[in-house]
Symmetry: C2
Subunit: 383 residues, 2 copies
């Protein structure tokens, strides 16, 4: 965290610089709304839950960034831009709901940290827009309605819905009545991605849960499936469903790891094709930091709920790869991008899609789970 | 060429399948308009200029694909889609003018091959739209006009304008009066990309010819600069400008090669940052087939116009790398994508951005130039 606390604040305009080189210097001043929202979330979550981060200056800088987001990221119709200039002018708008989703995460967690009802209202109103857009498919300035564009349910959509509904309900349980049912709906959508008699998780399926044709239909993203795995596992524990727990463990944690782990060089492939073709994505064989983060959380959570040693063994193996390959012991933070053999290809610490989020979230969640596991084992006399 | 002639025709719907695996089998039936336009151009150009390809069945399949393009690729407002289903339904529209530009190339060359005035009219009308959109910046369904979006002149825009104006004037010299001046304008725009006292070619500059801030401003694409090099060299020869010839040779051919050639592993880097940061593009260190193709054409053309042996030596070195690294002697065609060390990472022969174009165009142009060089050297008694 000290890397971000020291290097990322824009003291002139508020908000954070995202594009930080190896040593923390700013190599591009554009600001990315995914990253701003996630960094506000991270600062606020750590402020809320870890004593060492419960400091006024951390909350202050997070709040300035939240105000920057409210002022500059959101359009009148509640769409959020993808990127902004340093002083907040809009640069780019995506055709998806992710900027808006990270806006919800930021507002909910800073709302909890400050007790300021305005942030809670911001989070709730944006969440209402997102679930409406998701339900109707009618996103302003979204994809053009083209006749040949196949109806597609990407795994990312129900995952982000599950994530932000859980986030809002976690911070403000009173909204569970309005939004809680969306968790169940999102989980049902996620489960449609189990395909080919349970042998693969496909990234894109039809809304009816059928495999789509072509490269897009055969696409697998093992890190993404693993992330869905711990989302599902948390939900299974919440509702006490042994059946869903088992699906999460077998289909979304063990299976994507078996398929996605590179037996020759370690690490998780970014993309794979279910029929063994080369994916058309040029970066398919690269090893990214975030799939490893999701794998660490998934396997430790799997061990926590099952106490099955196989999950803890994989957690240790994955963590060892992560710390050996991604961590920069000199300047702090992790590198984000390795080639197939595990050599760093991009030496920056922050970029348009990497910010203050996955690494601190993973370390915070794993530390918390490990503490709970130690307590549980102590209580049962197995330490 | 036999790879494409055997494997790519869609005999049911007309047009070509683009996504061909290593052995030529179709792994995705979507059709990409860049690739369709380029393949029509390639078939027609070879039909027009090489005896061995002057066959009715080659012209027939090109003409069926041209009809497929006319019927399905173009909207009423003359915008062209980026991709279509196998039977021609629109899948995606880009915010740029490249689909439209390859439409012009296809229509001009098939117009020359068939003598059918309808194709000539199609090419000319589309070219009028493109230069208007380029001049006014007012492209239907183009980029949203956002306040923070920096005014940018990407190298690709004047290059494609120069390319398609040259194409139309080459096929139909009578249109030189209307369009010829656009060559000069495009060349002036290209020359604005020489930056930092002539030490770099930058991919994006302001319309006024200043360096832009951030990663986008520092971006270099050596293969693209080399492609601009032979476009400029052709134009310099056409107008007989020794000054422009020298700029093309020194700044757009020698310089990008010196900067872009990987001294350790050979091949041209896809992207570089002028200040030495890692580019944010995940594929920056990959070796792609088309920059090597552009380098082969550029250095051979540089030798042809100067007879300076240094250019021929580099041509041979680049060609040797290309044939050793990209060529598939078993199934035909070249692979398209290698990692930094030169190993094939993607084993398909055709994809959304690789089709029947760069490899045959390069071999056709190089063969033609080599024949001309031999004749010139024979005539001067230096063979």
């Amino acid at each position: 965290m000290s890397f971000w606390l020291i290097h990322s604040s824009d003291t002139e305009n508020g908000g954070f610089f995202n594009c930080l080189a190896e040593d923390g210097s700013v190599y591009d001043t554009n600001k990315y709304v995914w990253m701003l929202g996630r960094q506000v979330w991270t600062y606020s979550r750590l402020y809320n839950e870890i004593e060492a981060y419960r400091k006024k200056d951390i909350l202050d800088v997070a709040q300035k960034a939240a105000e920057f987001l409210r002022r500059y990221a959101k359009r009148d119709d509640s769409r959020c831009y993808f990127s902004l200039t340093a002083d907040g002018k809009p640069v780019k708008l995506q055709r998806t709901i992710f900027s808006e989703s990270f806006y919800v995460m930021a507002m909910a967690e800073i709302g909890r940290a400050t007790g300021n009802k305005e942030y809670e209202d911001e989070a709730v109103e944006m969440l209402r827009c997102i679930v409406k857009w998701h339900e109707t498919g009618d996103l302003p300035d979204g994809h053009l309605p083209l006749e040949g564009r196949a109806e597609c349910s990407p795994l990312s959509s129900p995952m982000i819905i599950l994530g932000i509904v859980s986030q809002v309900c976690y911070c403000f349980p009173q909204h569970n009545a309005e939004f809680g049912h969306w968790k169940k709906t999102a989980v049902e959508e996620i489960l449609k991605h189990i395909q080919r008699n349970g042998t693969v998780i496909l990234e894109n399926v039809t809304p009816q849960g059928q495999e789509m044709s072509g490269s897009a239909g055969r696409l697998m993203n093992p890190g993404h499936a693993l992330e869905a795995g711990w989302f599902l596992l948390e939900y299974a524990e919440e509702i006490g469903s042994a059946e869903l727990r088992n699906i999460a463990l077998e289909k979304f944690i063990k299976l994507p790891y078996e398929i996605g782990w590179d037996k020759d060089h370690g690490g998780l492939f970014y993309f794979l094709d279910a029929d063994g073709y080369t994916p058309v994505q040029l970066e398919w064989n690269m090893k990214l930091w975030w799939p490893i983060c999701e794998a660490m959380i998934s396997f430790l959570m799997a061990y926590k709920v099952t106490k099955d040693e196989q999950f803890f063994d994989t957690f240790k193996k994955v963590m060892k790869y992560a710390l050996n390959s991604f961590k920069d012991a000199v300047h702090g933070e992790w590198y984000g991008y390795l080639n197939q053999r595990g050599c760093v290809t991009h030496n920056f610490k922050g970029g348009p899609f990497k910010g203050c989020f996955h690494v601190p979230r993973t370390l915070y969640m794993c530390q918390k789970m490990l503490n709970e596991i130690i307590l549980e084992l102590s209580a049962s006399g197995n330490n």
